[in-house]
């Protein structure tokens, strides 16, 4: 049985056609609503500056200011020299990247000690988590199309729906540039790491067009040390090569009463996926993963009048997944050939009413997902689908207290129904105290959140359990922002996340596992972020500190009270840069304390702490009307030998150079 989506012209056109019809219907629907209200509205368009398609920053969207919230701007992305999204997220408090090593290694996001499945990844406010495995691999998201990243820490299902237990990462792609440009980037470094990207923005009187083309590749053959049979050896990582080609194109209307945007992202990747390096063995030494993905996002908004607005968003996503491991003979005499096609459709509409300081939102979402593949449980066959429906309401209001200080309250409620994975009712309460003339802002929020089981957890061969129910999680956040010192911001957050019915892999034997609603996990912690720009932005720095503890609270569990694996208790990251005469000298570091890698907290499987130091120097100059940047990076300058995932070695020192041209 073969499911080569992109090789099957019929299906390709069929699906693409469906998507365009879908997008067209949204626009037509918006236009109808628009025309019906055209005569009633006036020309004021400033009352809803925060809408997705017209705003450059989503942080003004209702709701997020009640949560722990951070952004990474385009200039910060550039300064870090990110080639993958994971490169920059580590500088956000509470974020830990489970990195399997090298450019092609999977990079899964954990926020506040939760799992990658309990975190939402969005593009322009639309979730792109796979319904197959609930996650999104950060190594394959094209970084150059991203203009800004928002990170909302803590759960918030009312605003963001399923999986919003640990946090939300929103990649905002629309460029904030107001003039047309063309930009090219080339980077090359150790292990033949290669990154090239071309971006352009064309601004016409009727429409803005953003396009990007990005290619990443690496041989991934870095050295690492092992001890086999008592002998110390230096090996090279093999079969860790990686190629990823992404294209994105978006059409955005000019800001007006009716706004729309259509974005398409296509991606093809091919990589080796070598596994754990154990004694005399590299697991999955010849395994390869080929993926093809198409994402089409549509959004439109209609400003009805001063007080009312309607937003529509849609998503079509299809992922063609082919994993081959010729050595896994227990699946078949020729090894494992895992073939899946996972499709997701989402459509949501939100009506907002705002008058003075009062805001009311009603959001309705519908979803359809399906999966076809050859590794589903025998009783399931080769196909499974899921329908979902959600409705939520949100109220916000502000009340003055004394002088200029005021309190803003938020109340929300959401209901979700899944055709095969249970239901969930999710409330939300938020509170902000703004101290008026004092540079202080306190925030609190509580949310009851959920994550439905994904297709793998329910239907994967000899692993899935079809009667799983959604994970439920209480999330509390208490935070403080202050800007007492000029050009310096300090944010302090404390949090508590308590998750029940957590779906975990329970071993039936040391090599065969199944998914169960079993775990109860409690995570609590403290996060501090300090950002400062001094001497007219000549010297910039940020320090990020996380202290957290994730404990197994499963009743009657043998591991009750023990630390959850892969949750470091302490994370520290920092970046410093000095700007002088077009030169930027930068330094950044990440530190992780020790953590356990199995639930029993065995000292034999304790991951030691590590610190990684990276430096760079860049020079910006103008030549014939063209902006040029030359840059040299040295990552892991002290050549630290370490792992993030047990027995998956990370690269040592990495040198790379790059040039960037902007016209």
């Amino acid at each position: 049985m073969k499911y080569y989506f992109f090789n099957h012209r019929f299906y390709f056109f069929k699906y693409c056609g469906s998507v365009f019809v879908f997008a067209y219907l949204i626009i037509v629907f918006s236009a109808i609503v628009y025309s019906q209200n055209k005569n009633e509205k006036d020309s004021v368009k400033t009352k809803f500056p925060e809408i997705v398609v017209t705003a450059s920053r989503l942080n003004k969207s209702p709701g997020t200011e009640f949560s722990a919230y951070s952004t990474i701007t385009k200039s910060e992305l550039t300064k870090i020299g990110a080639v993958q999204i994971s490169d920059v997220l580590q500088f956000i408090p509470g974020v830990f990247i489970k990195n399997y090593g090298g450019m092609g290694g999977f990079k899964n996001l954990s926020i506040r000690g939760t799992t990658a499945k309990q975190t939402i990844l969005m593009i322009d406010g639309v979730r792109i988590n796979s319904t197959q495995n609930g996650m999104c691999d950060l190594s394959i998201i094209p970084v150059d199309m991203v203009n800004e990243i928002e990170i909302i820490r803590g759960g918030n299902s009312v605003l963001f729906g399923a999986n919003a237990i640990g946090g939300i990462v929103n990649l905002i792609t629309r460029s904030s540039d107001s003039i047309s440009f063309f930009k090219g980037n080339l980077k090359y470094g150790s292990y033949d790491d290669f990154h090239s990207a071309f971006n352009s923005r064309i601004i016409s009187s009727a429409i803005d067009i953003d396009g990007s083309l990005e290619y990443l590749s690496s041989k991934g053959n870095y050295k690492f040390k092992v001890i086999d049979f008592g002998e110390r050896k230096i090996l090279h990582r093999e079969n860790a090569d990686f190629e990823n080609l992404s294209v994105s194109l978006s059409f955005n209307s000019k800001p007006s009463d009716l706004n729309y945007s259509i974005k398409g992202i296509g991606r093809i990747s091919d990589r080796g996926t070598p596994g754990a390096v154990t004694q005399n063995n590299v697991e999955n030494a010849f395994a390869r993963l080929k993926e093809k993905e198409l994402i089409i996002l549509g959004s439109s908004s209609l400003i009805i009048n001063d007080d009312q607005i309607i937003n529509l968003t849609s998503l079509f996503r299809v992922n063609d997944y082919l994993y081959n491991d010729p050595l896994l003979k227990w699946y078949s005499p020729t090894g494992l050939d895992e073939i899946f096609i996972n499709r997701d459709f989402q459509l949501s509409t939100k009506y907002s009413y705002k008058i003075q300081k009062f805001l009311a939102d009603i959001n309705i979402e519908g979803g359809y997902s399906d999966i076809r593949g050859n590794m589903l449980q025998p009783g399931v066959g080769n196909y499974k689908k899921r329908n979902s429906f959600g409705i939520s309401g949100l109220l916000e209001n502000s009340f003055g207290i004394y002088n200029e200080s005021y309190i803003t309250c938020q109340l929300g409620l959401r209901a979700d129904v899944f055709s095969d994975a249970g239901n969930a009712i999710s409330p939300l309460v938020g509170l902000i105290f703004n101290a008026g003339s004092l540079p202080l802002k306190f925030r609190f929020n509580y949310a009851y959140n959920f994550r439905p089981p994904n297709f793998n957890e329910m239907y994967y061969l000899n692993y899935g359990t079809s009667n799983l129910i959604p994970e439920r999680s209480h999330s509390f956040n208490l935070g403080l922002s202050s800007w007492i010192i000029s050009n310096t911001t300090i944010e302090i957050e404390t949090f508590l996340i308590s998750t029940k019915n957590q779906i975990i892999s329970v071993p039936n034997s040391p090599i065969q596992w199944s998914a169960r609603n079993y775990g109860e996990v409690q995570t609590k912690g403290l996060e501090i972020r300090l950002q400062s720009s001094l001497f007219d932005k000549t010297f910039n720095f940020q320090l990020v500190y996380t202290l957290q503890e994730a404990i197994d609270k499963s009743p009657d569990s043998i591991t009750f009270g023990m630390l959850i694996p892969y949750v470091p208790q302490e994370l520290i990251a920092g970046s410093f840069d000095y700007n002088y005469a077009g030169f930027i000298l930068g330094l950044n570091f990440q530190y992780s304390s020790y953590y356990y890698t199995i639930p029993g907290n065995s000292l034999n499987n304790l991951m030691p702490s590590y610190t990684i130091l990276n430096v760079f120097i860049s020079k910006n100059f103008e030549l014939l009307g063209t902006n040029l940047e030359l840059r040299i990076d040295c990552n892991n300058i002290f050549n630290a030998q370490y792992c993030v995932v047990w027995k998956y070695p990370m690269p040592g020192r990495l040198l790379k150079g790059g040039i960037s041209i902007k016209i």
Binding site: G230, T278, N280, S332, P507, W646
Partner: protein, 358 residues
């Protein structure tokens, strides 16, 4: 002249007697180890954390990670599967590390290892004498023939059915359990069968069928019977596995008991078969006309999984490897058959999967 003939004859006899005739090893189920026991702890897949523990009967104490402590800087590797003791040599298959580790039984010192190719996965060992043995290879769907004295592989790969697990020997025949690895290869030819292989010709004599997800094969020389434990397919949640009995001479099935049984082991007399059934240790009295499963005692902790079972004739006790939840250090439980209410408990490494006596 006559005395020269006698001298030559004596020298000839002396010379030929240098090559000792291989002797059959003592069967596991009748090995009355009086010194102690090794508890092989499988560890977790990809975690490289297999260990070997040693229990001493005289001091009534256990040494955890006995192999690591006896061999500074060495470790067993990833996913050890089987352990066999032949005199002062102990052989341990370490499946994901593709090795058979050889250790001096009395001291725990490493004597070397047999290294297989990277595609292999040595699983279970069956000795046919004190030097020659056969090893199942889970990944290559084959068995290998090994000289355990010289640590050489004589035949690297003899094809059998898919995912071979247990292996046993009787009267020139090998019995190989072709599990099919549950559902994964349930439809591959020979899955869920026991291949009977003549070791003189390396040819399959017969296929004992209708044994889905077969794991264990056990020879009872005293009764001339073969016992086969099968688990059935994980996807067939409403069906059970069972134990099938075959006549070793005719290879015909003689009896079958249908219940989910694992870790089958024989008493020293060969008249009782012990096994895990659900969350109990149960037994079949094989000499009864119509033997029925009898519960001996129950696992008091329902959330913990008993993973290995051995019978010690020396102290007439059942030894149980408790894997708990498969992710934490396990324990060794010793239940004297004449005092089932007072088991002894020792902590072990992760996933104790085989207990042998020496």
């Amino acid at each position: 002249m006559k005395k020269y003939y006698i001298l030559i004859a004596a020298l000839f006899i002396l010379a030929v007697s240098c090559v000792k005739q291989p002797s059959e090893p003592i069967d596991d189920n009748t090995n009355i180890g009086e010194t102690g026991a090794f508890i092989l702890c499988e560890g977790l897949f990809k975690m490289d954390n297999s260990t070997l523990d040693r229990l001493d009967f005289s001091s009534n104490s256990i040494i955890n990670d006995y192999y690591g402590k006896s061999n500074s800087g060495l470790r067993l590797g990833d996913l050890s599967s089987d352990i066999v003791i032949i005199g002062n040599r102990t052989y341990i298959t370490v499946s994901s590390s593709h090795t058979i580790e050889v250790m001096e039984t009395s001291t725990g010192k490493s004597l070397g290892r047999i290294i297989y190719s990277q595609s292999s996965n040595p699983r279970k060992i069956c000795m046919i004498n004190d030097s020659i043995g056969y090893v199942t290879d889970l990944m290559r769907n084959s068995i290998s023939k090994v000289n355990f004295k010289s640590l050489t592989i004589i035949i690297d790969s003899l094809p059998v059915g898919p995912a071979p697990e247990g292996i046993a020997f009787y009267n020139n025949n090998l019995f190989v359990a072709n599990s099919g690895f549950g559902d994964y290869m349930a439809n591959v030819p020979k899955a869920g069968s026991v291949s009977v292989i003549d070791i003189t010709t390396n040819q399959e004599l017969k296929e004992l069928k209708n044994l889905p997800n077969v794991i264990d094969v056990l020879v009872n020389k005293k009764s001339g019977k073969l016992y086969v434990g099968y688990l059935n397919l994980p996807s067939l949640t409403d069906s059970t596995g069972g134990i099938a009995e075959f006549d070793l001479n005719t290879l015909d099935e003689t009896r079958r008991w249908k219940f989910r049984a694992s870790a089958i082991t024989l008493s020293s007399t060969g008249d009782s078969l012990f096994f895990f059934k659900d969350s109990t240790v149960s037994m079949l009295k094989l000499n009864d006309a119509n033997p029925q499963s009898q519960e001996l005692f129950k696992n008091p902790a329902s959330s913990e999984t008993w993973y290995s079972l051995s019978y010690s004739a020396y102290n007439n006790s059942l030894y149980i490897g408790n894997a708990k939840n498969f992710q934490v250090n396990g324990s060794l439980l010793i239940y004297p058959l004449n005092d089932l209410l007072n088991p002894k408990v020792f902590q072990t490494g992760i996933n104790p999967n085989k207990i042998v006596f020496f």
